[in-house]
């Protein structure tokens, strides 16, 4: 693979039952590309947590995934409220999610820690009132 393969997804912020669609599609694509199951699992979970966060906390956004000979890069971009204290948000258990979200099994405050755990590199850029862009890389 010399040229990168790029995939773009719009993440709907209104629809909870379809939350995770982009991640599910990416998993399918990576399987078709023949990547190893552990890499696929890492990308899938990291991206799903980020996608769910865009739905829960930011009213949706965009996801871009590229695959090259070194690994998979996931860029999640939203125009939501932003994260005021990134260090705090990264703590296991910290969550601003409401009760209705928790009753679905989300909002355990483990999303960002999981994204960190399953990616080899993670960068968060966020500005309050403007939005958040999270870049994650998983190397082969």
């Amino acid at each position: 693979m010399s040229d990168a393969l790029n995939f773009h997804f719009d993440v709907d912020g209104e629809n909870f039952t379809s939350a995770g669609h982009a991640s599910v599609k990416v998993k399918k694509i990576l399987r078709e590309l023949g990547l190893d199951p552990e890499t696929i699992r890492k990308v899938s979970i990291a991206m799903y947590e980020g996608e769910i966060n865009m739905v829960i906390h930011a009213g949706g956004g965009e996801a871009d995934v590229s695959v090259d000979d070194k690994g998979v890069t996931i860029v999640l971009k939203d125009s939501g409220p932003g994260i005021a204290d990134i260090e705090k948000a990264m703590e296991e258990g910290f969550s601003t999610a409401q009760e209705n979200i928790r009753s679905l099994g989300f909002g355990a405050g483990m999303g960002l820690p999981n994204m960190k755990r399953y990616s080899d590199e993670m960068n968060i850029e966020s500005e309050v009132g403007k939005g958040t862009t999270i870049t994650m890389k998983v190397y082969f």
Binding site: V24, K27, Y48, G105, F106, A108, M110
Partner: protein, 115 residues
Amino acid sequence: MTPGVTRVKVSELIEKAGFGAVTLPDAEREIKGAYAGDLLSWVMGRAKADDAWITIMSNINVVAVASLADVACVVLAEDVELDAEIKKTALEKGINIISSGKPIYETALEIGRYL
């Protein structure tokens, strides 16, 4: 049989433990461990690929998490029921779902007998 390397297929677990089949698109898949929990991020952070995931959660996101975390099957404890729409999605995504009439703890003990 060497202890610790026992593998049980989803179809075998149903038979041995007397569990019910809800969706079985991949009945021959092998179970290598187990994880119990209802908070989805904990499951994604702690469950391993090929685990049996025991839960009482029954919304559509369970199917996505089971697929992305690559578990061998979902085990619904307490005879929790699933909507027809969710079963359909599980079948499409190749997700095995089985059900146990017992609470999570007893269900986990039962599964532990075969791992």
